[in-house]
């Protein structure tokens, strides 16, 4: 048994909590230092209006990696996951609606209302993607190999994945190779003819990125997400009590394992002595000594804001400055006096499902590929989309504890809202953004504006200022082909270690990143424990 070590962990987001748990379980003494008043990072629940609570930022899980959920025994800490069906409801301006379920046959029955051929292809697509996801999920579990000096473990992992890849058979192997660099619009168009279905699936390749559906590489983002959940529609699960309940449970699990959690403890600087990490200094001036420091913050914040640049090679610094982390998403949370009524769910359109049930999962607003692409177009020139792509949930439908009886909360991700605006600054544009979002939704649910009791608009600027996400990027850096796997965050610095001895990364800016899966945190813990041995 190695000697227990004091370890400082910067930030109390979900990945940091996962890392803290594993390190504590191995007998070390991690202390989680969270800047804000509560842990959770981007997975939090706030009461934003008296009696109305809502997942402030993230509103669905990635989903959480099953081994992480199991080992942390989260269900013991009051975590109750809700798995809504249908997973996705996508209204169309013509008053029709597409519903997608976990069971491909059920989805196919809904798709058949648009196209019999698409219904058939959907089942096939579901199967193909499922097979690919099984192989890809292996690659998400391991540490990306070192390119210059692959270790025996690296070779073993690659061989294992190689075997999985080969087991796909020639046809699927070539599919996977071909899909990776494609535009997601091309990918879905090869399979489906219904525009609403194409757009609903394609959204998974662009969410949270600076890519449009026609951008090459958006299919890779789609595949990375499929690795966590092989269902084409994507996950829609969330915990009772909002995402904050998840990170609360994680914190409790970490604490029980022996980790210490301090809130209101803002790390101002990472201390370096003799070329190695020595601890951190808090904004109060307090020093926390630790030979191992793990940053759950994004890479740019870690290296460019929390460190004296003299400790890093200029080459590394230069590359880190070029790491792309400019967000494109904003969040709007609404307190509602009642349920919005979607035109597409009136009468016969709702099918046998009932309007309330149809709205329990994610509501996708973005009826056509071109609609999504046009929403993206304006962001390239520094404006936010007047007709944005929206990913919406009404969690109070399945979790009444979030709002007073008969009332509801609505959580909306809006894209594209570029971090850098060409005209004006975000604080002055906040209201206009909120209006564009509500107006867009009102085209599908006309009674929405009159239901609004209160709203919170979180711009990319707020994401950086309030939640510490550099560039307002919710995934700690762009998900693009050149910033994934062995390149996340930088080529050959994808193994959770950094150029500074004793300093590690464990956040979404590392492989595999991307959403609330806990995978980065778990992978990082495994590597750090190897070094502590």
């Amino acid at each position: 048994m190695p000697a227990a070590q004091n370890i400082a962990i910067i930030g109390g987001g979900h990945n940091a909590l996962v890392t803290a748990f594993y390190l504590a379980r191995a007998g070390h003494k991690p202390v989680v230092l969270e800047r804000r008043g509560a842990v959770g990072g981007a997975a939090i629940t706030d009461e934003f209006h008296s009696g109305f609570r809502c997942s402030t930022l993230a509103h669905t899980t990635g989903p959480l990696r099953p081994d992480v959920a199991r080992e942390m025994q989260l269900e013991q800490f009051d975590l109750h996951m809700i798995y809504p069906e249908p997973r996705v409801f996508a209204p169309s301006p013509d008053g029709r609606a597409l519903l997608l379920f976990s069971a491909p046959a059920k989805s196919a029955a809904e798709i058949a209302k648009f196209s019999a051929e698409d219904a058939e292809n959907y089942v096939e697509f579901h199967n193909v993607l499922g097979r690919m996801a099984a192989v890809l999920s292996q690659a998400m579990m391991f540490t990306p190999p070192s390119i210059d000096h692959p270790s025996a473990d690296d070779v073993w992992n690659l061989l294992k994945t190689g075997r999985g890849f080969r087991s796909l058979g020639k046809k699927d192997m070539f599919r996977l190779l071909r899909w990776g660099p494609m535009a997601v619009a091309d990918l879905v168009s090869e399979w489906f003819e219904t525009e609403l279905l194409r757009a609903t699936l394609a959204a998974r390749g662009i969410f949270g990125t600076a890519l449009g559906p026609w951008s090459a590489g958006s299919a890779a983002v789609f595949l990375v997400r499929a690795a966590a959940d092989g269902d084409p529609a994507g996950p829609a699960s969330f915990p009772r009590g909002g995402l904050g309940a998840l990170t609360k449970a994680m914190a409790a699990a970490a604490t029980r394992a022996g980790a210490e959690i301090r809130t209101g403890a803002e790390v101002a600087q990472i201390l370096v002595k003799d070329g190695a990490v020595a601890g951190v200094v808090l904004s109060t001036g307090e020093e926390v000594a630790a030979k191992t420091v793990i940053s759950g913050a994004d890479p740019q914040r870690t290296f460019l804001k929390l460190m004296d640049p003299v400790h890093l090679e200029p080459d590394f610094l230069g590359k880190m400055q070029h790491y792309r982390s400019l967000g494109t998403t904003a969040k709007v949370n609404l307190a509602l006096g009642g349920l919005p009524s979607f035109t597409a769910l009136q009468g016969a359109a709702a099918g046998g499902w009932g309007a309330n049930r149809a709205m329990m999962g994610r509501i996708h607003i973005g009826p056509e590929i071109d609609y999504l692409e046009r929403a993206f177009d304006v962001s390239k020139y520094g404006d936010f989309s007047p007709h944005p792509y929206l990913d919406v949930t009404i969690p109070s439908l399945s979790d009444p504890s979030l709002a007073p009886p008969g009332k509801h909360v609505m959580s909306i991700y809006a894209q594209y809202a570029p971090f850098r605006l060409k005209h004006g600054a975000w604080p002055s544009q906040r209201a206009a953004l909120g209006e564009a979002v509500v107006k867009t939704l009102a085209a599908y649910a006309p009674n929405l504006p009159e239901l609004i009791l209160d709203d919170v608009v979180i711009t990319p600027h707020d994401l950086e200022e309030t939640y510490g996400l550099t560039g307002g990027h919710i995934f700690h850096g762009e998900l693009a082909l050149d910033q994934l796997f062995t390149m996340r965050p930088l080529l050959d610095w994808a193994r959770y270690r950094t150029p500074l001895r004793g300093l590690y990364l464990c956040g979404s800016g590392t492989h595999p990143g991307n959403g609330l899966t806990g995978a980065s945190g778990a992978n990082a813990a495994r590597e750090i424990l190897k070094d502590l041995r």
């Binding site: 390119i147 070539f174 090459a216 390239k380 050149d482």
Partner: protein, 530 residues
């Protein structure tokens, strides 16, 4: 029934001719059949207006593989490459950026816009040469099948992996970025001057339906950077007598080696018996038998138009139908009474001797793309202009000039109207755009030829008007070109090969597909007939 040939090559474009020349040199009895009355495919010189000779489609050369020039002894057959000096980019504010082959001069010019960029330009050049050194051998190899466990494929993959591993870490970093990023995104990391990034990123979009900010375009930038004349990277040139002269020189080399070449011989279909190609049928009904058929036309024409239904596996045909052409460019050729006069740098001068690039800003380039995405042509397009008559006076009457504009974007599929209706409007948009920088252009134009993507398809046999016989997008490169599993010039039909730009390493006047396909044909020959 006419005489039997060892190999029939479909199409007398430059790749078809290269293919024929190598096969003839190996002792095969070769027949090249060209549909048009002139050889050269898209590398052709035609006298459109009396006395004015245009490189109608392809207009500059640099990618032609040095080993082909050497092995086929093309200079002896009349090939002469005249250097194209520099790129001149006029700006709407009256300024310009003028990069020339003289490094010191270019440095000073860039320093005028940004000192930092002038320094970075030097570093950038070095980095790109290192990248070209890595990629060049790949252009000379037939792609391995990554799903195969065959010794030949495994060895190639292993060698590639080793070569990559042996790269210095900075080169690895650059290479991965070049393979995955957008041209503008890649250049953003090096430079701050907008016009410099815009005009450089233009190489990343040529022949693709992607914008300068679309991932995948950095590779196309590299593809075009690999121009090599006399061993110097990034130098482009004209061929004396127009690009048709290149095709003529290759044809001459092929004939000398014993190949027979017939023009005005359109092919109706490829004969297939028992899963083997056995010859071709011409449109006039003539049947010509052959042991091997090598098609330099694109996969759509080869497999959908020339092969009878039922001869190919359905899954393969599905892949061929998925292959993306998506023509995005047009050509406008002008016969000029005198030289254009740019208001940012008036009068005649050396700046007119190189490429004139209408690419004033990255946003300008991106907006041109945005318009085309939804089925239009760009009202303010990216234009790459050359005036070859300044370098090679033989192509125009004395004192007069030919001006050739490569124009992007023009979507093959228009949302409204047809290209027949829009042809002149497209030509007008190009002339208007040029006139914003060189106001006299309208008055000095004696004749105008406008080629839309539809014209490129109909007149030059380029499906959907794609000048590279299919997009150079990442999922259509190397072992995925043209379709997964069939990147080694073979096809599901025995003895039918592909040798055009739709095969690795793709388009431009490179000749590599024709040469590599010839090697594969000869390899197959040895195996099957020894």
């Amino acid at each position: 029934m006419s005489a039997r040939y060892d190999v029939i090559v479909i199409g007398g474009g430059h790749n078809g001719l290269v293919n024929a020349a190598y096969l003839a040199r190996a002792g095969k009895k070769v027949l090249v059949l060209e549909r048009r009355h002139v050889l050269g495919g898209a590398a052709v010189t035609e006298e459109i207006f009396p006395g004015f000779k245009f490189s109608v489609c392809s207009y500059v050369v640099s990618l032609l593989r040095p080993e082909i020039i050497r092995e086929l002894d093309l200079p002896r057959h009349g090939l002469e490459i005249l250097p194209l000096d520099g790129t001149f980019t006029p700006l709407p504010n009256g300024d310009y950026l003028w990069r020339v082959n003289d490094h010191a001069k270019t440095r000073r010019e860039i320093a005028r816009h940004s000192r930092l960029d002038a320094e970075a330009y030097e570093e950038f050049g070095k980095a790109m040469v290192a990248m070209c050194r890595f990629v060049k051998p790949i252009l000379g190899m037939s792609p391995p099948d990554p799903t195969s466990l065959g010794p030949r494929d495994l060895k190639k993959l292993f060698v590639l992996g080793r070569r990559f591993q042996a790269l210095p870490s900075d080169d690895k970093y650059n290479l991965i970025q070049l393979m995955t990023m957008s041209a503008a995104g890649f250049l953003d990391q090096w430079f701050e001057t907008d016009v410099l990034k815009a005009t450089m990123s233009a190489s990343g979009i040529i022949g693709t339906f992607l914008g300068v900010r679309s991932p995948g375009t950095a590779y196309v930038l590299l593809h075009h950077y690999m121009g090599e004349i006399d061993g110097a990277f990034r130098s482009w040139g004209f061929s004396r007598g127009g690009t048709g002269a290149i095709s003529d020189a290759i044809a001459e080399a092929a004939r000398e080696a014993g190949a027979e070449i017939r023009t005005s011989s359109p092919i109706a279909r490829i004969l297939v018996q028992g899963g083997r190609a056995t010859g071709v049928v011409l449109e006039n009904g003539d049947e010509i038998p052959a042991d091997v058929v090598s098609s330099s036309v694109d996969p759509h024409l080869t497999f959908v138009k020339m092969i009878e239904p039922g001869q190919l596996p359905g899954e393969f045909l599905d892949e061929v139908r998925r292959y993306k052409f998506r023509g995005s460019s047009g050509k406008v050729n002008l016969a000029l009474d005198t030289l254009p006069d740019f208001h940012c740098l008036p009068g005649p001068g050396a700046h007119l001797r190189g490429a004139i690039s209408i690419a004033p800003s990255v946003d300008y380039m991106e907006r041109a793309y945005d318009e085309a995405k939804y089925g239009n042509f760009s009202s303010r397009p990216y234009i790459d202009t050359v005036i070859p008559s300044l370098t090679d006076p033989s192509v125009a009457p004395p004192g007069k000039h030919v001006l050739s504009c490569f124009v992007q974007y023009a979507s093959y599929k228009l949302k409204e109207g047809t290209w027949e209706e829009k042809r002149e409007a497209f030509g007008d948009a190009v002339v208007e755009t040029l006139a914003e920088h060189a106001p006299n252009i309208k008055n000095i134009t004696l004749g105008r030829q406008v080629l839309t993507p539809l014209d490129l398809e109909r007149d030059f046999g380029l499906t959907e008007g794609n000048i590279f016989q299919g997009e150079l997008s990442l999922e259509q490169l190397f072992f995925l070109r043209p379709v997964p599993g069939w990147a080694q010039y073979r096809t599901p039909i025995q003895d039918l090969y592909l040798c055009g730009s739709a095969t690795h390493p793709g388009g431009g006047i490179m000749g590599a597909p024709g040469r590599l396909a010839a090697m594969e044909i000869l390899r197959g020959w040895k195996k099957a007939r020894s």
